[in-house]
Symmetry: C2
């Protein structure tokens, strides 16, 4: 029994494993990309929701960050982060918490894409006498929200933000549709869409006499593939630190880059059906089936031994709340590897953000195998 | 503005709402069924994971319960529950926690379906000198685990449990395949399968001179449809307390029975696409798409106004982590109800177990509208 096997044997399953060495490699690679492209890296911390991961992901340990909830902003601000972008469209009833965070010394910025939102922000800035620097969201690919770069409302919103003292921080886009295409060339085209949309929006704002210091783009696929970010000032990406099967399926990483897995235990066998039952169901994996629409459907995940070695052709075929069914990919019954009751296996997840969210901590496989496992807490909520 | 609307306006969204009156009605109905059928009701608490809900769901407030994790067993035992069934196949490394719970005075029972599991349980019982009363899982529908009722291993396992002092508490099945069929008649056929399999297994054990005091069956659909449980002693069901769109889709409840919803806020509009954006994405709803394979696909949920009134033809079409896109069911663009930025809406979930698990508390709409909202905590983990 290796040191690692012995350490894993002490864990209650299911639990979440994080390979620190793989994460460090992923982070180093993305930081090098940002440097090479001449932009600031603003990692999205919605994937990890962990102070310990943030310290290892952000430039200088506390550098610019993106979050998806005010709960994240509050937790990371309390841990010392001072430059946080809340990248979900603001609503009036959240402005109280935004103002409180800004008053505490955190440069929290917000996102909006409509005049009613800008009016609410402007009113709050006037009423409080505080700046609430805002990004205007630009739609670069029809994914979700955002204004078209040429929309006249852009200027109207920018003026209202500036005139009210709220402040216009810049423009932002996220090419979420890049997740739906495969390969570096396809992702690079989405990166170009991000750049075109934001740079032309920034130019329109500047031509109207408005400031637009920050031009922010990004998604993990476009960040991995970008070749030219002229005019862009910052790059956002989240899942790159952990990667997952969805990212591998579109060629944004290799399977070997995936730093996150779920440790599970064999609880039963149904040999006539070709099934091995484990104690990791959808409560552990999440219900995410992001590879279902990809060229290779990984069901609920790829199966590895406890050391992390991929077991060819074994997938987590089905899940119930606390049960998982492992089977051969081809669906054939017949002999399976002989894993006795109590044996541990690891499952690589479809979607790191969704799987990690099912757990309250990471068990960290240290860069050097012999060191003891660490526990890093993670948080959730809004 | 009604009292309820004013109270909801104070909540940060997304958050989880529980309609106490609907829950009470669902619970009363299931308790009446169990009484009429002459069986003990052993609710599954994996749906709610809440002490407050358990008190309102269990017979006498502390009656027999089912759980899906040892974390649930520990939390409910600490709250005073004394009869808990951990209904996921046991593994050797979990027996320490089982023994600790039993030593604390909780009659925790466990589940197994193989000789290696029984050997581990027998060894732990001998080593500790404590009973570990166990259920043998019977497969009634090919859903997942369990022995066939006629399997010779049944007797061998029963003898080993009895001889070792662990103890055989009974037999158990769960017709999980009942979720895949629709209508009372179809569910009643699965109820008959549950009864046939467990009663014949119990008879085989008794014929071999073994005790089998408990014969346990159940799933929400079969519990709702069961007409004759002769030979069965207890009925298990979980989601019945809240219900959800999956249960409504197979006719196990009506839409009006659904007690759980997610409160969300409008954060944007894309009128050309026929979209309303809200701040509830899959992190709030879960990734569960359980209605996808049903006659009516509800996408990520049905949309109601803040008061809970269903808005015809509006569904939560797509989700990202913290964004939801509401659209017309028919996919048509064009005029939508005029919900301004900041308006609150409620979403009925596909799967109550999965959606509730995304939150750490319930905001409880009291049976009488004017009373203040309560907060009931819920827990997770393993």
């Amino acid at each position: 029994m290796t040191d690692l096997t012995a350490q894993l044997a002490h864990l209650q399953t299911p639990c979440l494993l994080l390979d620190e060495a793989k994460m460090a490699r992923n982070v180093t690679r993305m930081q090098a990309r940002a440097e090479q492209l001449g932009v600031t890296l603003r990692p999205h911390l919605k994937t990890s929701k962990s102070i310990e991961v943030a310290r290892r992901t952000l430039t200088g340990g506390t550098g610019p960050a993106t979050v998806s909830t005010l709960a994240e902003a509050e937790a990371f601000a309390a841990a010392g982060l001072r430059d946080i972008l809340y990248a979900v469209g603001i609503t009036p009833h959240k402005l109280g918490r935004v103002l409180a965070l800004r008053a505490s010394g955190c440069d929290l910025t917000i996102l909006l894409d409509s005049l009613p939102q800008a009016e609410a922000v402007a009113a709050a800035a006037r009423a409080s006498g505080q700046a609430i620097p805002s990004f205007i969201e630009i739609d670069s690919d029809g994914h979700r929200g955002g204004l078209q770069a040429g929309d006249a409302a852009l200027i109207e919103i920018g003026k209202l933000l500036e005139d009210s003292g709220a402040g216009l921080r810049g423009v932002l886009t996220h090419a979420g549709e890049s997740y739906g295409v495969s390969g570096t060339q396809a992702h690079e085209r989405f990166s170009e869409k991000e750049r075109d949309a934001t740079v032309s929006a920034a130019e329109a704002l500047r031509a109207a006499g408005l400031p637009c210091p920050v031009v922010s783009v990004g998604s993990t696929p476009t960040a991995v593939a970008a070749r030219d970010l002229t005019g862009v000032t910052e790059l956002r990406a989240g899942v790159f630190a952990f990667f997952d099967l969805v990212m591998a399926g579109i060629g944004a990483c290799s399977i070997d880059d995936i730093a996150l897995s779920v440790l599970a235990t064999v609880i039963g066998h149904q040999p006539e059906r070709g099934w091995i039952l484990i104690d990791a169901g959808w409560m552990a994996m999440s219900r995410d089936r992001g590879t279902a629409a990809q060229a290779v459907d990984q069901a609920y995940g790829l199966v590895c031994d406890a050391q992390g070695n991929l077991l060819e052709d074994l997938i987590l075929l089905k899940t119930n709340q606390e049960h998982g069914i492992i089977a051969r990919r081809d669906g054939a019954a017949g002999p399976l590897p002989d894993f006795p009751i109590g044996a541990q296996l690891r499952i690589l997840p479809n979607h790191a953000c969704a799987t990690a969210a099912q757990f309250d901590r990471y068990h960290v496989l240290p860069a050097k195998g012999a060191a003891p496992l660490q526990e890093w807490p993670r948080f959730g909520g809004w």
